[in-house]
């Protein structure tokens, strides 16, 4: 994979032959289920995100916890300044280890609206690293929080002025408050304590008092501490579905069903509404926002997707309220005759910008689509994910599976895309023209167990928009009806920013693969 994305002018690697298909291998699993073990609802992973350098991975779960992993394969790290730019090369495939976890959100009850607010983490986004501390945003349905995770020195303090001579006899570890007369203070109002009051005629000798000395602090070890630095609350009437950081490093957006708000990371008590699709009369509501993301480099551009299958690109420079998009991407011709389900399955569940900022990947129920932001006539490529389900849409509607929100992701080099499906399967496609790569993998220790690499696929060219990608029919559906187990779905996955490595969530387990 020595293809260089910077030379790309139109489609990814338009001039180069497609790279050979990747051979995926199992790398790691965290929280693997033993046979017959029941999954606890709170343990189900609901968000996965790599940081920009790819050295850290965060997962959020339905219990409101955030778990952090860090890269374990040792590398020569170079200077931190380089790390900020994240340009370095490495040879081995990434391996991660558990770093820490913390409780990000707790269940709440909104008494005004008589609503329960789940603690489930909807999205996690990493912010700029500073001083070796990690920063990330996590959100549930209503409240966004900024977390700082850093190494804190564990201190032992000794040699206090007041300890073993006069104090209340509490060993040598004076970090306890035993020797501070807190008990005398009803409200902790320390400044009013008579104890601290020196009489006004108290005289300091010019050389000070030799009997006084500073406590001695010894640091033996460090521990990881997560602290909530800011809480951005009370800005959303509906459920937050996305958060996204701006490339300017100081702002981010949060999107709910009808509105998108712009925040400054340092200011938690106000946000600006930049998109509002709420109609004057809620009965006129036909379309909701399903996902939103900032452009990776242009600070003024952001994209959001809708339940009608369209993606709108908006320019924050044009006006303060961005109700008018400057580009609209939607599929004009319906690939199949319209049915009751056409509109439901057109709903986009996730969009992602490619790293180059030129392409947008979108996921609807049945397909992945790749869009070029310079071409609004239609997607440059469409990939069918699980075409075998099309006859079963009725069942899927009845058990609500048709409303499952699958995420999608792109590789760092922009050559491949991936998304999840049912039966804990996920699919990887090459998105270079002429690429025939279409792999189905299972989130298990043996990803290729039932899913042989797909044989040749009809060559695709830019002109034809709708192409049925023939999947190996034998691979996906077991005759025993296993495939209709819609509870084992792989909704969340993330591609490592610089390497061919995918992290995906199967219920409570985090599987990692590399190629």
């Amino acid at each position: 994979m020595n293809w260089n994305g910077a030379e790309d002018a139109g489609l990814p690697a338009a001039s180069l032959p497609p790279p050979p298909p990747l051979e995926w291998k199992f790398s790691q699993v965290f929280g693997e289920r033993t046979a017959g073990e029941e999954v606890q609802e709170v343990d189900i992973i609901s968000a996965i995100e790599f940081d920009k350098s790819g050295d850290h991975l965060a997962t959020g779960d339905r219990g409101g916890r955030v778990v952090l992993f860090e890269r374990a394969d040792v590398r020569d790290r170079g200077s931190r300044r380089d790390l900020e730019r994240q340009d370095y090369s490495i040879s081995r495939h990434p391996e991660f280890r558990y770093k820490t976890e913390f409780q990000s959100h707790e269940p709440e009850f909104d008494y005004l609206k008589s609503l329960e607010i789940e603690e489930k983490i909807n999205k996690i986004r990493w912010c700029q690293t500073a001083n070796g501390a990690l920063f990330l945003l996590s959100t549930n349905d209503k409240t966004i929080k900024l977390w700082k995770v850093h190494e804190k020195k564990v201190k032992r303090i000794s040699k206090m002025n007041m300890d073993d001579s006069q104090a209340i006899g509490n060993g040598s570890i004076a970090s306890s408050s035993a020797n501070s007369p807190r008990a005398y203070l009803p409200n902790g109002g320390c400044s009013e304590r008579p104890y601290n009051h020196l009489s006004s005629d108290f005289l300091f000798p010019p050389g000070g008092f030799p009997s006084l000395h500073l406590p001695v602090v010894m640091c033996q070890e460090t521990s990881l501490v997560a602290r909530c630095r800011r809480i951005y609350a009370h800005a959303h009437d509906y459920h937050i579905n996305s958060i996204s950081n701006n490339s300017d490093g100081e702002t981010f957006i949060s999107a709910d069903d009808l509105r998108i708000n712009l925040w400054n990371l340092e200011i938690s008590n106000q946000s600006f509404n930049i998109v509002d699709v709420k109609p004057a009369n809620m009965e006129d509501l036909t379309e909701v926002i399903t996902s939103a993301e900032f452009h990776p480099t242009h600070c003024n551009m952001l994209a959001y997707s809708s339940s009608k299958g369209s993606i709108r690109l908006i320019d924050l420079r044009q006006s303060a309220l961005c109700d008018n998009h400057f580009k609209l991407f939607e599929e004009h011709e319906a690939p199949v005759p319209k049915s009751f389900f056409t509109e439901i399955i057109a709903s986009i569940s996730d969009i992602k910008f490619a790293k180059d900022g030129r392409h947008i990947l979108s996921r609807d129920y049945m397909t992945l689509k790749l869009w070029d932001i310079n071409m609004d006539s239609g997607p440059v490529a469409t990939f069918q994910i699980h075409e075998y389900l099309r006859p079963k849409l009725c069942d899927l509607y009845e058990n609500d599976s048709i409303f499952d929100k699958f995420e999608c992701c792109l590789s760092g080099d922009g050559l491949r895309v991936a998304t999840g499906s049912y039966n804990n399967l996920f699919r990887v496609f090459g998105c270079v023209p002429e690429s025939t790569e279409a792999t189905t993998l299972e989130a298990s220790k043996n990803p290729m167990r039932r899913h042989v690499q797909n044989p040749a696929r009809p060559a695709r060219s830019l002109g034809s928009l709708t192409r049925v990608v023939r999947r190996g029919e034998a691979t996906g559906v077991d005759a025993n009806g296993n495939s209709y187990d819609f509870t084992t779905k792989l909704l969340h996955l993330a591609w490592h920013p610089t390497e061919n490595s995918i992290a995906c969530a199967a219920a409570n387990s985090l599987y990692m693969y590399y190629a």
Partner: protein, 587 residues
């Protein structure tokens, strides 16, 4: 571990609590760092306390912020200016933390210390610190460094100056937008210390790079740089270098940049001087007044008066006034509201004729605006209006607007207008007030919203103060007292409140003759809330009235109330009785 003498206990505890687990106690110790330093003496402060603080800097932000602040004024405690450099290391580490307010405070303290340091000390200690921070691994250090160059630069020898300039240039091209923003923010300060020869070459090229930055957030900070740099340059250089940038910015793709131009316009005009302002900035300003984005028009509309003041009257009438006319019917209420708050200032600039002919219609249409904020903004600037167009013309158009606001659906609007009534009364005079506004003031006493009734009572008091007791006796007191028989007890309570406010203004006689009987009568009210409010009012009347009246009228009434079946009434009655006793005491 030595025994501590008893008088030193407080200091010993203060020192120990630098490391207490309770953040409040740590904060308290840090806030009294100077006491600790004096107790240790200058030498041990330098050798022990300051290193101790340098090492223990992974505390909570509140503590770090306090530490950064205290260290800024710590020079006397380390032995004077020649030892000031020992304070730099702890502040240097505070410059790298990720919390912005701590970094800013550390930079501020460093600047304060640097400004006092001797020249060679600056070269030996301060300049290296700036260079270290500017080369910092994390962006936080580099951000902080930008705010220190102006201190370091002036005392540095030539070769170091060259280096500092080039480092600053690099910071302006840093990968991190945060660093470029800090560099843009501090460019003006730094440029002020740079020699004119370098200013025109190096600093201007740095500035030009910033003005073309991809990030809107950087470019919009460069707008402020325009004004700062413009003041440093020779007028002709300013016209060649700064003016084109301003004109470009006024047409920037990003509305936020244009907004900044609109906001800074006056400073920018000052920087380029009057002649270029007329030639080039008037068209730019007119464009901003007609911008597509309401936010930009709001900012521009708010500067109308200031801008017109630097223009000649003809130019203002010819170019600006037509835009003002358009803005007065702008689709955004916020634009109209911004315009309404400044438009009257234009009157002196335009002169009486142009004002009556051109400005008055705009003013009148804003006074009839459908949004209350707009009307309120006009009314709040009434003194300026009065001077220009005179009271007769004003009162004709003003009254309907006021009446409408006085009956506005939103109680906050009603509240706002009530607060202007005393001002209006003083400006319009008794005659006008009696005819038109008197009835309104009474009407508010019976508003549905408590805050309005409360404000109405206060308003009556302020009117009584303005026009005097005699006028109040005629125009306020009878009307107020009439309402004491309102069937609703909440309204009766308002009247009691109004009485207690009016009494001190009216004086003992009127209070005794007119107000007191009404209050006493209310003590027979069937609602306990009224009765205990009577007790409260009576208590407030005690200091005003003659002692004989207190004894003969108030006390018996309170005694009766103190035997009321209701516990609250009894409580307040006994409170009031105590107040009576206290007044009696001295005699």
């Amino acid at each position: 571990m030595a025994m501590i003498d008893e008088p030193l206990y407080p200091i010993a505890i203060l020192i120990d609590e630098l490391k207490n687990e309770d953040i409040q106690l740590r904060l308290n110790s840090i806030r009294r760092l100077s006491t600790i330093a004096r107790a240790l003496g200058e030498e041990r402060t330098r050798k022990e306390l300051i290193p101790f603080l340098s090492e223990n800097n992974d505390d909570d932000d509140e503590v770090l912020l306090a530490m950064a602040e205290e260290l800024g004024v710590f020079i006397p405690y380390v032995g004077g200016v020649e030892y000031a450099h020992v304070l730099l290391p702890p502040l240097e580490t505070l410059c790298t933390v990720e919390e912005t307010c701590v970094r800013d405070k550390a930079v501020e303290s460093l600047c304060r210390i640097g400004a006092q340091m001797k020249e060679n000390d600056l070269v030996d200690w301060f300049v290296p610190l700036v260079k270290r921070l500017a080369a910092g691994e994390w962006f936080t250090a580099r951000v902080s460094s930008c705010g220190l160059f102006h201190i370091a630069y002036s005392s540095a020898p030539d070769h170091l100056k060259t280096e500092l300039r080039s480092i600053y240039g690099q910071l302006c091209q840093d990968d991190m937008p945060m660093v470029r923003r800090a560099a843009a923010t501090n460019l003006g300060k730094f440029a002020a210390t740079v020699e004119p020869s370098h200013l025109k070459t190096e600093i201007m090229s740095i500035f030009e790079d910033l003005t073309q930055d991809d990030q809107d957030s950087v470019r919009l900070l460069a707008v402020e740089g325009c004004a700062a740099l413009g003041k440093l340059l020779e007028p002709q250089d300013c016209v060649t270098h700064i003016l084109p940038v301003i004109v470009n910015f006024s047409q920037d793709k990003s509305w936020r940049v244009r907004y900044m131009v609109a906001n800074q316009l006056y400073e920018l005009c000052e920087a380029v001087g009057p002649e270029p302002t007329r030639a080039d900035l008037v068209p730019a300003y007119v464009r901003l007044l007609r911008d597509n984005e309401a936010e930009v028009r709001i900012a521009a509309a708010g500067k109308v008066t200031k801008f017109c003041r630097i223009l000649s009257p003809q130019l203002a009438i010819q170019h600006i006034l037509p835009c003002v006319k358009e803005l007065s019917s702008d689709s955004s209420q916020h634009v109209r509201s911004a315009l309404a708050s400044v438009i009257m200032g234009m009157a002196p600039v335009l002169g009486k004729d142009a004002t009556i002919e051109q400005l008055l219609p705009i003013f009148l249409s804003l006074l009839k605006d459908e949004f209350p904020d707009v009307r309120l903004n006009i009314i709040s600037k009434l003194d300026q209006v009065n001077q220009v167009i005179g009271i007769d013309l004003l009162s004709q158009s003003l009254l309907p607007a006021i009446v409408e606001l006085a009956e506005d659906r939103h109680w906050r609007v009603r509240l706002a207008i009530i607060e202007y009534i005393p001002l209006l009364a003083s400006q319009l005079g008794v005659g006008f007030f009696d005819d038109k506004l008197g009835a309104l003031c009474m009407q508010w006493l019976e508003d549905k919203v408590f805050s309005i009734r409360d404000a109405a009572a206060n308003n009556l008091k302020r009117l009584a103060e303005e026009f005097g007791p005699e006028w109040a006796m005629q125009h306020i007191i009878p009307q107020v007292l009439d309402k004491i028989n309102n069937p609703h007890y909440l309204y009766r309570m308002t009247i009691l409140h109004a009485i207690s406010l009016l009494a001190p203004v009216m004086g003992a006689d009127i209070t005794c003759q007119k107000l007191l009987p009404v209050v006493i009568a209310s003590s027979k009210d069937r609602v306990p809330n009224i009765k205990f409010n009577v007790a409260k009012v009576l208590q407030s009347l005690v200091p005003i009235l003659d002692q004989s009246v207190v004894e003969s009228t108030i006390r018996p009434c309170l005694v009766e109330l103190s035997e009321d079946p209701d516990v609250d009434v009894r409580y307040f009655a006994s409170q009031a009785l105590q107040a009576c006793d206290q007044v009696m005491m001295p005699s």
